[in-house]
Amino acid sequence: MMRLVWFELVKTFIRWRTYIGFIAFGVIVPLVVAGLKLGGQRSFERHLLSLLQNDFVIGGNVLNGWFFGFFFMSALWVHIPIVLTIVAGDQIAGEGNAGTFRFLLTHAVSRSRIIAAKFIVTLIYTAVMVLFTGGLTLGLSLWAFGGGDLLIIRRGILVIPEAQLPYHFLVAYGLATLAMFVVSSLCFFFSSLTDNSIGPIIATMAVIIVSIIIISLPFELFQAIRPYLFVNYFDAWQKIFDDPIPWDVIRKNVAILVGFMAAFFLATMVYFSRKDILS
């Protein structure tokens, strides 16, 4: 199995398209940080704290590296999933399109092992992508804006002391990685249904965007559907920044996300194990 995983790693990480996400964030994040540094910071401050400044004089480095690191985490909803689907969507569909299944699946190695190896590599890529983005955004932000306490606006204002922040961000990115695992798993499943890798990318993003819309709008019908949508549990990574940390809720979110991931993976296994390879 390890050899299969290694082969899949080689196949995936030798392709240049695997690095699209890294390049994209590697360019965009510094640009945004530079923009914030050059003047966006002040307008950010006014926008964010206008009400508070009526009654308080704010001391300290509010818009610091941790704050912007937290701000960049909002990319986890849409931007990071896009780049994840580029690789996840190609894992199975790409082989079908290229016709390489005709060699890959005509060996004594079972389909389920090959799919499992591909899935593991998809998750590895996902984790690397999320952690790279986190490291880049936090690192650049801290370098550009310095440290300080983290100010979060949620049911008023919550300030988390700087000493606690490395732990919070570590756990948050762990949970974010899990959430992104679900995205990749869904895309991986879509990839098994087709020989065209564009389809899974579009389908996955459509599911995410529509789900986000549903969970955001206060309509009764939508709110009734909301518990069944996996994006509803994505904010586990945000809950880490609450006080007190709702560990029970986070545990529940984790269990649900793991459940979704397992379901998508199993669906892929079941479907692909019986799929006729015609390409």
């Binding site: 004089v57 985490m73 986000i212």
Partner: protein, 252 residues
């Protein structure tokens, strides 16, 4: 008989002589004993005439449901007439107009001051004044100030901001010796803030649910409501150290 009358009448006469004075001092000031607000506040600022700048360490405890902040420490710099700079690693919101000690804040030249009454404040006789800032940049409609004790000092300040936030500030002082000089400076300050109800930020209109996870953490602060307390403890006063103007330049 005459001696008896004298014996009995004398206390009465004495009482009658003193009574008007006694009564008049309790019932209300007449034009002669009503304090002059201008003079009172000028006298309040007088001991600080030679104060050009100060540096003080403030330790703050915040107890507010809507503003959950850990205890923080900040260094406050002040330079006459009204420049402040806060230096801190933490997020440090200090109550505007009450957490920043400015002995010249209630200068009669900059405020309209009217005497209200005299009353007991925590067992101390205190004169009540209504102070309306003339500078429109100060976001307070008016202050209600209690002064008293000896030497005279501001004991309590109540404020009402334009936004509707009410603040009650209770001050205690101590003598701070600096070289040959002695300064009466704040030791502890207790601030109670009451934010107005139902005052959403007009810019924060949103179609989405309140617990919308997508924007969680990044929402604009759309309302600060409820009430809470801040306790500020001042220490390490350093007065007239010659603070540089550059210290007060706004960081970009």
């Amino acid at each position: 008989m005459n001696a008896l009358i004298k014996q009995r009448l004398l206390p009465v006469a004495l009482f009658l002589l003193l009574f008007p004075t006694t009564v008049s001092s309790q019932e209300g000031p007449d034009a002669k004993s009503r304090p002059d607000p201008r003079r009172v506040f000028t006298d309040l600022a007088n001991p600080y005439r030679n104060l050009k700048d100060y540096t003080v360490r403030i330790q703050t405890k915040v107890n507010m449901p809507t503003i959950r902040i850990p205890d923080f420490t900040a260094t406050l710099y002040f330079k006459k007439p009204d420049r402040f700079q806060i230096e801190t690693k933490s997020f440090a919101p200090l109550p505007r107009n009450s957490g920043l000690f400015n002995p010249f804040q209630f200068d009669p030249e900059k405020n309209r001051i009217a005497y209200q009454r005299t009353e007991s404040l925590n067992g101390v006789q205190a004169d009540l004044y209504r102070v309306e800032p003339l500078d429109s940049k100060i976001m307070v409609r008016y202050f209600t100030i209690w002064t008293g004790e000896s030497p005279a000092r501001i004991l309590q300040v109540e404020s009402l901001s334009f936004r509707g936030t009410k603040g009650i500030v209770k001050l205690s002082y101590r003598n701070v010796e600096q070289g040959s000089e002695m300064w009466l400076l704040p030791d502890k300050v207790h601030v109670h803030l009451t934010f107005p109800e139902g005052a959403p930020n007009a810019d924060a209109w949103s179609l989405t649910t309140k617990d919308n996870p997508v924007s969680g953490g990044m929402r604009q602060l759309d309302e600060v409501s409820g009430e809470g307390d801040l306790d500020l403890a001042y220490s390490d006063w350093q007065v007239n150290t010659g603070l540089d103007d550059r210290l007060f330049e706004k960081k970009k």
